[in-house]
């Protein structure tokens, strides 16, 4: 791109006095740029751009945070020693919620607890899952896989969630943000 070339030429010209930095000059030349009589600070575009970008990113973050507020009624803090219930409800397909227990280690921080998910996989898929643990029993033609989640990483949630072949699913947990971020770090259902 000639613009790129020119930029390299011009900017590199200022960098080295011997001006050997340039390596192509074609379509047009930059004339002398006068810096006389500037009303605003000379780096105003730079500052304005980065400030604008930062404001936009923060604004986007707040919008997304508002969107992700679940609005559930406030519950008392469950003690870490209590079992937490991880509920998967498959609204359309199964008509009744699945429940699975997860055991959280007491000492781990909220955000970095290991979670166990129960994913429904078809038979073929079971072979591909490396770590399985026992899960609740359901109908005989469904298989549950439990994928232990490493601390702090929520991708396994989605790794599991996306193994679902059911469109309406949700899993919630008490103190970890499973719902939304899982959907972001999804892996496709490895069901074949």
């Amino acid at each position: 791109m000639s613009a790129l070339r020119l930029i390299s030429n011009r900017t590199s010209q200022q960098a080295l006095s011997d001006s050997d930095y340039t390596w192509d000059y074609e379509y047009y030349e930059y004339g002398p740029v006068s810096f006389e009589g500037l009303k605003a600070h000379k780096y105003s575009i730079v500052i304005g751009f980065w400030v604008g970008l930062a404001v936009f990113v923060i604004f986007m973050f707040f919008v997304l945070t508002l969107l992700t507020k679940t609005g559930a009624p406030h519950q008392d803090n469950a003690e870490l020693s209590e079992k937490r219930f991880h509920m998967n409800s498959f609204v359309a397909e199964f008509g009744r919620p699945l429940e699975s227990e997860r055991v959280f280690s007491h000492h781990m921080a909220e955000e970095s607890q290991s979670l166990f998910h129960f994913c429904i996989n078809e038979v073929d898929h079971m072979n591909k899952i490396k770590e399985t643990q026992k899960g609740p029993s359901l109908e005989s033609n469904t298989h549950f896989q439990e994928v232990p989640k490493s601390s702090g990483m929520f991708e396994e949630d989605l790794h599991c969630l996306t193994k679902f072949n059911i469109p309406n699913f949700v899993n919630t947990e008490q103190n970890s943000s499973l719902g939304e971020d899982d959907l972001l770090i999804s892996e496709p259902p490895i069901i074949l």
Partner: protein, 293 residues
């Protein structure tokens, strides 16, 4: 050239120089990281899935971006040392080729991100039919189409870059794609929120109320990193095209090398927020490095 030097007075915006060591380190790190991902996906049969192919496509774009910057720097050094002439025909063609590589990298990144977002969207909203919709063959076909389109566009843009008609669509494509990807993810958010509400309303649920920040943070990181790394350069191209003589624009363009380094940082960060979050990929890495061969 002497005239332009003479007229640049003390208040001039001098070029912000990034040390070459920093430049090459960042570039090498980006190339190595993405190469690792490609090797891991190729070696592990479990990772032969559409999702990982899209992540590989993103890794290839990132590699191309870093490679471009490295090659450009090497050529500039060679010019400095006198091995290459400045106005030779061969150098011009080389420059064209490298410019088109860079644009290919940018377009490839955008379309790979789009493909990843669309893949996740289909996973969520068409979960039952996902394997019929997104077969391996279809994923490869989609990737082939994307890369053919990107290659054609990049060559066209590099050849016809002096016309405004190529710069403007290029710079419009960038925010459009970002907006579209944002909409896909927001829709996924809304679904998750509505389902979480349904779960919370069930009697046996003991859901603890808290604002789910993780999702918002993750998505903000996704798009924020991409924007912060690529937007400065896109703005640079716009300004160079439309106001090269304006002193404000000239001051912005003096941080060109910093913008280039940002693009290479994007190549380093992208694997961390996409590829390394997959447990399967991480375990493949561990096997590659820790297991004796």
């Amino acid at each position: 050239e002497n005239i332009s030097d003479f007229s640049l007075n003390i208040t001039d915006c001098t070029q912000v120089v990034v040390p070459e060591e920093v430049f090459f380190t960042v570039a090498a790190a980006g190339i190595l990281e993405n190469l690792l991902i490609l090797i891991a996906v190729v070696r592990n049969k479990n990772l032969h899935l559409p999702m990982y192919f899209f992540i590989c496509s993103l890794a290839i774009s990132d590699m191309l971006g870093s490679l471009y910057k490295t090659l450009e720097n090497i050529f500039i050094i060679l010019c400095k040392m006198g091995y290459l002439t400045r106005h030779g025909d061969f150098e011009k063609k080389l420059d064209d080729a490298m410019d088109s590589m860079f644009i290919l990298s940018l377009l490839g990144s955008i379309f790979s991100l789009l493909a990843i977002a669309a893949d996740r969207y289909i996973t969520i909203f068409y979960a039952l039919r996902y394997h019929n919709i997104m077969t391996l063959r279809r994923a490869l076909v989609i990737l082939a189409i994307i890369w053919a389109f990107c290659a054609g566009s990049s060559i066209a843009i590099a050849l016809f870059s002096y016309e405004a008609a190529t710069i403007i669509p290029f710079t419009i494509l960038f925010p459009l794609m970002m907006f579209f990807i944002l909409c896909l993810y927001v829709h996924m958010f809304l679904l998750a929120r509505s389902h979480a509400r349904k779960i919370a309303s069930l009697p046996s649920s003991t859901v603890h109320h808290r604002t789910n920040m993780k999702g918002a943070i993750t998505l903000t990181i996704f798009l924020g990193v991409f924007l912060c790394c690529w937007a400065p350069f896109v703005l640079h191209i716009l300004l160079a095209r439309f106001c090269p003589h304006n002193p404000y624009c000239a001051c912005y363009m003096s941080i060109f090398h910093v913008n280039g380094t940002l693009i290479m940082c994007n190549a380093i960060i992208n694997p961390m927020i996409f590829a390394f979050r997959s447990p399967e990929l991480r375990s493949t890495f561990k096997k590659m490095f820790y297991c004796p061969r």
